[in-house]
């Protein structure tokens, strides 16, 4: 079982916010009128979104369309200019509850952020320790095997390819006990085999009880993976719907996403 899966039967592992007595709300991620400006430039106009546990959402769009901005604000890495983000009913940007809410989110950034002097296994050990994961060694070994990193666990980041570094981050994100898995451009730098493996892992994460949110400009990757596709164009929501609905609409072709 991967790290996040154990929450399906053990909701009290999610600390104070997801204590045993708390029911899992039907809308786990609630985004309301979320927007961000940089001076006169609007990076994201207004986004409304509701995501339940086990659901997947993909933000697609061209470069500069606002995908990373949206994802970063939902993860609490970026402060919104307007609107709110609630995770399990708690405002992610409220400093008083930030620690407990943070523990529910795993964010995999586009650019790998790894300690240059720590091995792949060291990263997993530290993440496991910081998040109070039990049986870190076993879980780490399981994840490393699953992601094809078992023979590279002793290597430093500079000895890894970009795709391998990306997988190391993914392994760390999967190890920690989270309810929301967020990935910024997870497909970039991955070969076809790794893409298939990522698809399978993310599908399992959904089934195991995580909400999966990701951004990509490769819309074909999310076919069959997510329930909702949000097409962004220059900071505005151009279309929102299922993969089939979005593909029927001409906007995807107009934006050159195919």
């Amino acid at each position: 079982m991967l790290g996040w899966m154990r929450h399906e039967s053990e909701p009290d592992l999610l600390f104070d916010v997801m204590a045993k007595s708390d029911p899992v709300p039907s809308t786990f991620v609630d985004v309301d009128g979320l927007g961000r400006d940089y001076g006169d430039n609007t990076a994201l106009e207004s986004l409304d979104l509701k995501v339940a546990i086990g659901e997947g959402v993909a933000f697609v769009g061209q470069n500069g369309s606002g995908k990373t901005t949206a994802l970063s604000m939902i993860a609490g890495r970026l402060d919104p200019t307007r609107g709110t983000v609630r995770i399990a009913g708690k405002d992610i940007h409220d400093r008083q509850v930030a620690i407990s809410v943070r523990s529910m989110i795993s964010f995999v950034p586009d650019a790998p952020a790894l300690y240059p002097d720590l091995t792949v296994l060291d990263h997993l050990q530290i993440v496991g320790f910081a998040h109070g994961v039990e049986n870190v060694d076993d879980r780490s070994a399981e994840l490393l095997t699953r992601l094809g990193l078992e023979t590279r666990s002793h290597l430093l980041p500079r000895e890894l390819s970009r795709g391998m570094r990306q997988k190391t981050q993914l392994a760390c994100a999967l190890l920690r006990p989270s309810r929301v898995l967020m990935l910024d451009e997870p497909v970039s730098g991955l070969d076809q085999g790794s893409r298939r493996e990522l698809f399978a892992v993310l599908s399992e994460a959904k089934v195991g009880g995580a909400a999966v949110l990701l951004s990509t400009h490769q819309i074909d990757f999310v076919d069959g993976l997510v329930d909702t596709v949000v097409v962004l164009d220059q900071g505005s929501v151009a279309k929102i719907g299922t993969y089939g609905e979005v593909m029927k609409d001409g906007v995807v072709r107009e934006l050159g996403l195919l």
Binding site: E10, D12, L13, F15, K20, Y38, G39, D40, N41, G76, R77, L78, D79, H93, R95, A98, I99, S100, R102, S103, I105, F107, P109, A113, L114, Y115, P116, D117, L118, T119, D122, H123, Q125, I126, V127, F129, A130, H131, G132, V133, E134, L156, Q169, C172, R176, P177
Partner: protein, 527 residues
């Protein structure tokens, strides 16, 4: 069946990270000791070089340590403001990207993490304060035979207090976007305050300056040690202690009042800035600090590209446009030129000030040839133009040379109005200015036209690596210094009343400018 999860403390996680990092540390204890030895050796070398400069300069002059120390409040004020301004884009609490990704975002006590980093900054500030304070008061006591222990302790403690206050204030700026904006906006006013303090010192109102604020209170004991007024020393020390205590306390109680965004922004800026510093890329470093001060929003006035009257003016019009879009380059050049003129006027009998004047004026020229560095950074961009690489480089020198000439004439006019040169010399010097501007700008252009600073040389060059790197940096100033020093005799003769002196200086400066321009034109297209 449920399993309780016991979370570690922030301190335990950080200790775990440190332990694991030490397992893969590439440096051994011997390596670290060697580094420390080299740093101490270079420090002593630099200190002896500075002492030599002072020896050279001060012999035969009426140097007074008391007069020099009177400038300490101004220096402390500027240093404090520098630390505060640093908080607008970095600050005392900065985590690395991996720390942000794996430790800060973990369910750990944010206050503990921040306080650890803040404590480290306070320790560094305290050490700097102790070293500075002990150094100043020791020298003061040695030179003036005022060996009072209380003054010595007070001098050291005062600088520690002002350093702690500055770091604490910097934290408040770091954690608040509003404070950052305020600091950015009032920086020109603060420079004005520094100028007022400087005028106060220059006009002999040093007592008033020492009461003007924490920077003055912190300087009082050092100034007193060299023969100043000791009467208010303990009141000033008490006030300083109160300010430092309040500042540090307020910083500690607000240690969790910072958003993830601010910490992420600083982590990313730190990573890029470290890389830029490693490669000696000052331009990128400046851009990062500017972008982060503006919180990702850097947008000047939207100037439009002018249609040049002649095709060959395309490069010139582009350089004017970039200067208008980024006026800070012009402002820096103006400040450096003004400083150069002040140093030149005060240089009579003080060779060190003449060197300072030359370096400031060269730095102004170097700042203005930024378009050449941009061109070198994008070597293929010039292929859009119908000229060879060398020609483009020379065309980029036109605007800097014209601006330097204008600044030179402006400076000369101020000096003339001040009565530092007579009417005849003023007229003849105004003919020299364009040639002098060329002789400063063209060597700077020659230096800028090379590839970026070869950091690899420091490592790959073996023992000679640092020397080779230093020589690389000195090429531009050295070329300009050779030309200026050759023309200097002519200038001196001209100022003494010989018109042929000015003429010979013009010939030397003009000839060198033409020579440098020819060398630039001969540069081959980059591969």
């Amino acid at each position: 069946m449920t399993t309780a999860v016991s979370l570690p403390t922030a301190g335990e996680v950080l200790a775990s990270v440190r332990y694991r990092r030490r397992q893969h540390a590439s440096k051994t204890t011997v390596d670290r000791l060697t580094d420390a030895y080299l740093a101490a050796f270079l420090g002593l070398y630099a200190a002896s070089a500075i002492a030599w400069l002072f020896d050279v300069d001060l012999s035969g002059t009426s140097f007074s340590f008391h007069e020099t120390l009177a400038w300490l409040p101004v220096a402390l004020f500027l240093a404090t403001w520098g630390v505060v301004r640093y908080g607008t884009w970095q600050g005392p609490v900065v985590f690395s990207g991996p720390e942000m990704q794996w430790v800060v975002t973990a369910p750990l006590d944010r206050r503990h993490l921040v306080r650890g980093r803040f404590r480290r900054a306070l320790v560094v500030a305290a050490i700097a304060g102790v070293i500075g304070g002990m150094g100043v008061t020791l020298i003061a006591a040695t030179m003036t035979d005022v060996g009072r222990v209380d003054v010595f302790i007070s001098g050291s403690a005062s600088l520690v207090a002002v350093a702690l206050s500055a770091v604490s204030l910097s934290w408040h700026v770091e954690r608040s976007a509003r404070w950052s904006t305020i600091v950015n906006r009032i920086t020109p006013i603060m420079l004005g305050v520094a100028a007022v303090l400087a005028v106060g010192v220059a006009t002999g109102h040093e007592l008033a300056v020492t009461w003007s604020g924490p920077w003055g209170w912190a300087s009082a004991s050092s100034i007193a040690a060299t023969g100043g007024d000791l009467s208010g020393l303990w009141i000033q020390s008490l006030l300083l202690g109160i300010v430092a205590a309040v500042m540090v306390f307020s910083a500690v109680v607000t240690s969790d009042h910072i958003s993830d965004e601010e910490l992420w922004r600083r982590a990313e800026a730190r990573s890029t800035a470290a890389a830029a510093m490693f490669f000696g890329d000052v331009r990128t470093l400046r851009r990062i600090s500017r972008r982060n001060r503006a919180r990702g929003h850097v947008r000047g006035r939207d100037w439009q590209v002018m249609r040049p009257a002649r095709p060959w003016l395309v490069v010139t019009s582009w350089d004017i446009l970039t200067l208008r879009r980024e006026p800070s380059r012009l402002v820096t050049a103006v400040i450096l030129t003004a400083g150069g003129f002040v140093a030149a006027v005060a240089a009579t009998g003080r060779s060190i000030l003449a060197i300072v004047a030359f370096l400031l004026l060269y730095a102004a020229g170097s700042r203005l040839v930024e378009p050449i560095r941009i061109e070198v950074g994008q070597p293929n961009a010039h292929r859009m133009l119908p000229w060879r690489w060398g020609t483009v480089l020379v065309l980029h020198c036109i605007v800097p040379a014209v601006v330097m000439t204008a600044l030179g004439w402006l400076g000369l006019a101020v000096v003339g109005i001040g009565g530092f040169v007579d009417g005849v010399a003023f007229g003849e010097l105004s003919f020299v200015v364009p040639f002098a501007a060329g002789a400063l700008v063209l060597p700077a252009a020659v230096a800028a036209s090379r590839q970026p600073f070869p950091v690899g040389t420091i490592v790959s060059g073996g023992d000679a690596g640092p020397v080779l790197a230093l020589l690389w940096l000195l090429v531009g100033p050295a070329l300009a210094a050779i030309v200026v020093s050759i023309s200097f005799g002519g200038l001196q003769r001209g100022l003494a009343g010989s018109p042929s002196g000015f003429f010979s200086a013009i010939v030397v400066l003009g000839g060198a400018t033409a020579g440098f321009a020819m060398w630039l034109i001969s540069r081959k297209d980059p591969p």
